[in-house]
């Protein structure tokens, strides 16, 4: 489709959207959506001339006239079991093509003080409590994808944890694309408000039914109040033909601690932005990431950790594996504000290339405006260590298996930080299946 026809296509969608806004929607929300729609119309999709998109050309996304899925796709427990995590005891919300499917969700026995509901439901029943969160961490100007998510917002998850509440079982958001059509897009939105001293684990898990090739454009806003402890999993295991852009915004108050596990296994073209703002002393973030690119996959991850207050800590470890013609990008920015003394920031990016045609670019960016800080970073891109290969072979392990062991070990140093064993095991199995050389690996080892 030509550029003009595409502009027209999206202009019409935006118009329809505005015509369709029901009167019941409060003005704050209508205003934010109008602003986002205007922003999206004006900016269009980013192009590689923009610094933040230098390594990732979104033309395959920009060239298609995406529309929202109109009907509920068929779904079954069997299909969900195949993409879920065996043995995981969790509350569950299932979304298909961006819409909550209550019949497959299980939120029974939530403790008091915890609210978990669909965003669409929350907006139609009682929208005002969302005003301080929805669209306040994720600004439209962050990217036109974030703006599009706000403009075309349909559904998502709202998670609110009251003061001091502890959610014992994890909450599994299973966000699934159907094979409904090649040009469907969805805009899931996840809002997490973790009250003072609360504690929870949320798994944001993107996957597809066989043959799906749609575009999932997600935004997550997470605010951790003082002393809150959040574990957040962002797992992307789409079909190899699918597109995914995800923007995660984390804001942390005093003494809160957030652990993020971000794993990218699938997708044709994937971009993740993880933005963390440590706004008060004692806030601590741990960012663990792993991506695997093979075939013609392209996975780009940008992280930005903003130390805007003294005595804040970040620990970041990202690893990438490239095989086939895969292309990976990691850009990690750490910004230490003037006055953010005693910041302790560590960032490490290690990457492994298994094929001469794979490419991984890694780019650490440190901007430090305070003088009493501890900041360290390191980035490597390399191949498997010959000496280790020889050592394993000298013990009778054949070259194939030795290779698999080393690649798997490389990835597992990130995965072993996951607290949820069924998730870790399942991810390990999926990773092994995607590494031809590691097919023989017993992942429990």
């Amino acid at each position: 489709m030509s550029t003009n026809a595409l502009s027209q296509h999206y202009a019409e969608q935006v118009q329809r959207l505005q015509d369709g806004l029901p009167g019941a929607i409060p003005e704050w929300l209508a205003g934010r959506r109008r602003g986002a729609a205007a922003r999206f119309s004006e900016a269009g999709f980013p192009d590689p001339r923009q610094e933040e998109w230098k390594y990732t050309n979104v033309r395959p996304i920009a060239a298609k006239p995406f529309v929202a899925a109109v009907t509920d796709a068929p779904m079954s427990e069997d299909a969900l079991r195949a993409i879920g995590f065996e043995g995981l005891d969790a509350y569950r919300m299932v979304f298909v093509d961006g819409r909550l499917r209550a019949e497959f969700s299980d939120l029974a026995d939530l403790p008091s003080g915890v609210t978990v509901q669909g965003l669409s439901e929350a907006l139609s029943s009682d929208p005002d409590p969302l005003e301080p969160l929805l669209g306040t961490l994720a600004h439209d100007r962050f990217s036109s994808f974030a703006a599009a998510n706000m403009a075309f917002l349909t559904d998502g998850a709202v998670i609110r944890l009251g003061k001091g509440v502890r959610l014992e079982r994890p909450l599994h958001l299973l966000i699934v694309g159907s094979a409904g059509g090649p040009v469907t897009w969805s805009h899931p939105r996840v809002l997490i408000q973790a009250g003072e001293g609360s504690e929870a684990t949320v798994i944001e898990h993107y996957a597809d039914l066989e043959g799906a090739s749609g575009f999932t454009n997600t935004v997550t806003e997470l605010r951790a109040e003082a002393g809150a402890q959040l574990r957040h999993y962002l797992l992307q295991d789409h079909a190899d033909s699918a597109y995914h852009v995800g923007s995660l915004f984390i804001q942390q108050r005093r003494d809160s601690r957030v652990t993020s596990h971000n794993v990218n296994l699938g997708g044709r073209l994937v971009r993740h932005d993880l933005n963390v703002d440590l706004t008060e002393p004692g806030a601590e973030i741990e960012l663990n990431g792993l991506f695997l690119v093979g075939g013609r996959q392209h996975v780009d991850t940008h992280t930005r950790v903003h130390h805007s207050s003294p005595h804040t800590t970040s620990r970041e470890q990202y690893r990438g594996i490239g095989q086939g013609h895969g292309r990976g990008v990691f850009k990690g920015r750490v910004l230490v504000e003037r006055g953010a003394q005693k910041t302790d920031a560590q960032q490490h990016s290690a990457n492994l290339l298994l094929s001469p045609n794979a490419e991984i670019d890694t780019k650490p960016e440190l901007e430090i405006y305070a003088d009493d800080v501890k900041c360290a970073h390191g980035a490597t891109v390399g191949q498997l260590d010959e000496t280790s290969m020889y050592y394993l072979r000298s013990r009778g392990i054949d070259a194939e298996a030795a290779r698999g062991m080393l690649v798997f070990a490389f990835a597992d140093e990130v995965l072993e930080r996951m607290e949820l064993l069924p998730v870790r095991t399942s991810i390990e199995n999926r990773l092994a299946a995607r590494l031809p050389e590691a097919g023989a690996i017993d992942v429990i080892g």
């Binding site: 050592y391 394993l392 072979r393 000298s394 009778g396 392990i397 070259a399 798997f408 490389f410 597992d412």
Partner: protein
């Protein structure tokens, strides 16, 4: 068991081995001693099959087979085990996992079923005791964060589990304190048997007071310049390499 005939090898452009002859029979313990740079480690790496070590002449026969026809892992499965001078750290691979994979690779090679986890653990625990190693070593990544002595113990632990026909120990004694040397030597002595051979490559005589060799060879500038029984080691202790090298010249 092992017949080395006029072996010559180079590393990059440098000729290191200039014609080594050595025969090792089952049941024997040989010590190859020599000063730094004499070619001791190169000999071990050539026998192990490491890339970058080019054989330029001579033959090595192991149990009637041409050794150079075998890949490093095939040599291991045929019963050759090389104890590294600098054991390699492998982050992310647990010790127990490496042991089990290596053990099963051998069993598979011999057409035997893989060991079940319970039996295997029982076997490994027994060997750990011999090496005075804590069970926690099994669950640590291979050699990562191990002290020098722990790494060498770990090499011998692998030998006790894998029970090679031919154990090649490349400077296993270097960097060990007396207690660790004793533990390592005890481990090696347990391997001694009429159907197994051991080749100790070392710079120092002190190892040989713990592991008594049947034969001692002095390696200098890529050749074995003198062979004898264990008394040769004592002579080395008294006169140093210098005396022997001069005498041979």
């Amino acid at each position: 068991m092992l017949k080395i005939n006029n072996l010559q090898a180079r590393v990059e452009a440098a000729e290191i081995l200039k014609g080594i002859d050595l025969e090792v029979k089952a049941g024997e313990v040989h010590a190859i001693m020599g000063p730094n740079g004499s070619g001791k480690s190169t000999l071990c790496q050539v026998l192990g099959g490491r890339d970058g070590y080019e054989v330029t002449g001579g033959t090595v026969e192991y149990l009637g087979k041409d050794l150079f026809e075998l890949e490093p892992e095939e040599r291991a499965r045929e019963g050759i085990l090389l104890g590294f001078q600098y054991p390699v750290e492998i982050p992310g691979v647990k010790n127990i996992y490496l042991l089990k994979e290596a053990y099963n690779a051998q069993r598979k090679h011999r057409g035997e079923p893989e060991a079940d986890t319970f039996q295997f653990l029982k076997l490994v625990r027994e060997k750990l005791k011999t090496m005075q190693m804590d069970e926690s070593f099994l669950h640590r990544a291979v050699n990562v964060g191990f002290s020098g002595g722990e790494k060498k113990r770990n090499e011998i632990l692998q030998m006790l589990v894998l029970e090679p026909k031919l154990a090649l120990l490349d400077e296993t004694d270097s960097g060990l304190d007396i207690d660790a040397l004793k533990v390592v030597s005890d481990g090696v002595n347990r391997l001694r048997s009429p159907d197994r051979a051991i080749v100790l490559v070392t710079h120092y005589q002190r190892l040989l007071s713990h592991i008594e060799p049947d034969f001692v060879h002095v390696l200098s500038d890529g050749r074995i310049i003198k062979s004898g029984d264990k008394t040769l080691a004592h002579e080395l202790e008294r006169n140093g390499y210098h005396g022997i090298i001069e005498e041979a010249a």
